[in-house]
């Protein structure tokens, strides 16, 4: 049984179609393994080699990876929620209620999206504190720290724009208060608030603007900076490891 499966896989690997997609042959040597990573769009910005000690849970608690995983969860659940949501008043509130009480599994998706968003903010902060206390911002990682700060701001903006979308009292007043903080800025504050809200009050324009920011603009920017963030880790020589953990083992 096992041998027939093996020979079937071997036959599959020798087909023209397979060889046109995976050009490197079996990953049996370090060279072909490296080439497989270089030649794959989704792997090429990850390091070819990772030191075992940087994979220890204590080295990072995987908080960066968990943040990315939560981001993917948010993209998937968010896209699914978009199929039932109209960014208009008063539909938005009713759609949110429908997702909770009418749509099959809607309450599950909505809650996964909401909880993953809360957890992502938590994971981002844990990741940041961990990098900070490990000295992970020191040369040559300074630029990646800056990219990380941009990603932190993007996470917070994504949370804030998403907060308005249920269009309930909590959302309305949170955004009323938040955008009034903008107008405390001298000279340009009121103008910025007017442009952010698309008016003088939190109304339909504001809902639509926050929606477009939340589902298109901010996620696209976040994707770009996540790619830079990961790629930079590789270019800067992998994760920082505490001297205490650096026992010479590869």
């Amino acid at each position: 049984m096992a041998t027939t499966l093996h020979s079937a896989l071997d036959r599959l690997r020798s087909t023209k179609v397979w060889r046109s997609i995976f050009r490197r042959g079996p990953a049996s040597t370090n060279r072909t393994r490296s080439l497989a990573v270089f030649g794959n769009l989704f792997l090429h910005w990850l390091p070819v080699k990772v030191r075992e000690k940087s994979l220890r849970v204590r080295a990072s608690y995987y908080m960066g990876s968990i943040t990315f995983l939560l981001f993917i969860v948010l993209v998937v659940t968010g896209v699914l929620l978009m199929f039932y949501y109209h960014p208009a008043a008063p539909n938005a509130y009713h759609d949110m209620k429908d997702l909770r009480f009418v749509v099959s599994n809607g309450v599950f998706l909505r809650n996964v999206h909401r909880l993953a968003a809360h957890l992502m903010v938590f994971a981002v902060f844990w990741h940041m504190f961990h990098v900070f206390y490990r000295g992970g911002y020191k040369p040559p990682h300074e630029f990646n720290w800056v990219v990380g700060v941009i990603l932190l701001l993007l996470t917070l903006f994504l949370s804030y724009t998403g907060y308005l979308l249920p269009w309930d009292q909590l959302a309305f007043w949170a955004v009323t208060v938040g955008t009034n903080i903008i107008s405390a800025m001298p000279l340009i504050g009121n103008k910025i608030r007017h442009v952010v809200l698309g008016g003088n009050i939190v109304g339909e324009n504001a809902l639509l603007r926050f929606y477009v920011l939340h589902v298109v603009v901010l996620p696209l920017i976040a994707f770009l900076f996540i790619a830079i963030h990961f790629w930079r880790v590789q270019k800067d020589g992998g994760l920082t490891v505490r001297p205490k953990d650096d026992d010479g083992k590869e």
Binding site: T176, V177, N180, G198, I201
Partner: protein, 169 residues
Amino acid sequence: MSETKQPPFTTVHDEGEPGNGVTRRDFLNEVTLGALGIAGLGSVAVTYQYFSPNVLFEPPTSFRVGNPDLYPVQSVTILQEQQVYIVRMPDGFYAVSAICTHLGCVTQWKPDSDQIACPCHGSKFKADGTKIEGPAPRPLPHFAISLTADGELLVDKLQTVKSGEVLKV
């Protein structure tokens, strides 16, 4: 193909003023960068214009609030929709904003304690908008209030007036 003789770019000088150090490449670079800069500023300006709506579907800022007789003397009445207090004191009428000057919450009139209170962060005001306690930084503004020709009160929220001004009826 015949060989064309062309001096290297870096040694081409402006022929009008020989030897002033500005090469044709420098000149073209600066002109191009300048043009791109102007175009960039222009696109920022038109994008800002695009994002500032010209027509708003918001509640009217100027509205009639009915006959003066509707409001008894020594009373504070909130108009929930317009978010304004119509205050009638013995010396006349004035209109006070119901929006807290701290962060924009709608305040409430508390008849028991004779004060306007904000539910969000606890600011308190007198009926004439004077601040009793923070975190609100400013007193509640007064809006222009007038009588129409047919004897109705008219409030204009775009016009703020000094707190001393009252409408005598």
